[in-house]
Symmetry: C2
Subunit: 187 residues, 2 copies
């Protein structure tokens, strides 16, 4: 039997990323779980952030942002990025920063994958600023790439070792491969 619990957005599991933007001339990163893939071609993502967040200043100024996916070994610094605002601390010192072609979306070398994004749309719903972006370029650490039949292939999730989150305020690791898309259909 289903129990109605009211207006609670139990989306799960929640992927954790570090949302990067250039604010007042410096890289800043905010820990976010409010994000999603929105399409493969065009390469769309969305991310939401409280309109008062420091990171938003940079996204709105430059029209660019990044999503950086930490490993579980980065849990402590990732959690810390969500505790302090860029108004209080200079988080750029916590990472080895780099930029891509857009020049205004700082990214994190320590993360296996960083997505450099251009903001396409910006919607405010109450205090939530929802950014829809197009991935301009994905940067993958060479340690997580292999050549398979002449094509670059990214490591599986057990190696990318992402941080997950749930609304019970716990972080989780990824489990094991359990199947292949479009191959598990009932026969």
């Amino acid at each position: 039997m289903k129990i109605p619990l009211g207006k609670i957005p139990y989306v799960y599991p929640i992927p954790i990323a570090l949302l990067g933007a250039q604010v007042h001339g410096k890289p800043n990163y905010a820990t976010v779980g409010d994000l999603g893939l929105m399409g493969i071609n065009p390469a769309l993502v969305c991310v939401s952030s409280h309109r008062d967040h420091y990171t938003n200043i940079g996204i709105l100024e430059h029209g660019t942002f990044s999503l950086n996916f930490p490993t579980t070994s980065m849990l402590s610094v990732t959690d810390t990025c969500g505790v302090f605002s860029g108004r209080e601390v200079d988080k750029s010192a916590w990472f080895d920063n780099f930029y891509g072609e857009l020049q205004s979306a700082p990214m994190i070398q320590e993360c296996p994958v960083s997505l450099e994004c251009r903001m396409l749309q910006n919607t405010l719903i109450q205090h939530r600023q929802i950014f829809i972006g197009e991935v301009h370029c994905a940067y993958v650490d060479e340690a997580y790439l292999s050549q398979v039949e002449g094509k670059k292939q990214i490591a599986d999730l057990t190696r990318l070792d992402p941080i997950l989150y749930a609304l019970d305020n716990r972080y989780y690791s990824i489990g094991q491969p359990i199947g292949v898309g479009y191959q598990e259909a009932k026969r």
Copy 2:
């Protein structure tokens, strides 16, 4: 060293849900990974679906949809929902369907959690229809709820046992708890 791979939206891991809508008087469900939490209060979600998808007809007609989170034991039927269109098969017969207060967003009894949503915004970017919705009510199976200090508490992710996905076209299970939000900060 980071290797630029171009316009690839490597968001990971991708939570898998069954997107429900009432189409031509019947429940229909599409497997989606293009979704995200967009805020807790207000309770916002977003989901994206190709504009030609059968499910979109129902979302646009009623202004409502549901997100249903399957367990790994539902992998086969979940994958199948992504292989066939509601134009070809009647997927309502594959599940025990129920409705909430909005009456027009079909949900799945077999899923531990279903979110009944009202569409707030609808944006078309090329062929991707991006819906931002507010959760009207979350329905949680009583088997996944417990009473902790007089309050209803939802089971952790290892019990909810969600299906994850990645752009390497593999499905994954959840791993283990590794920490607590806002408690892992560097000391």
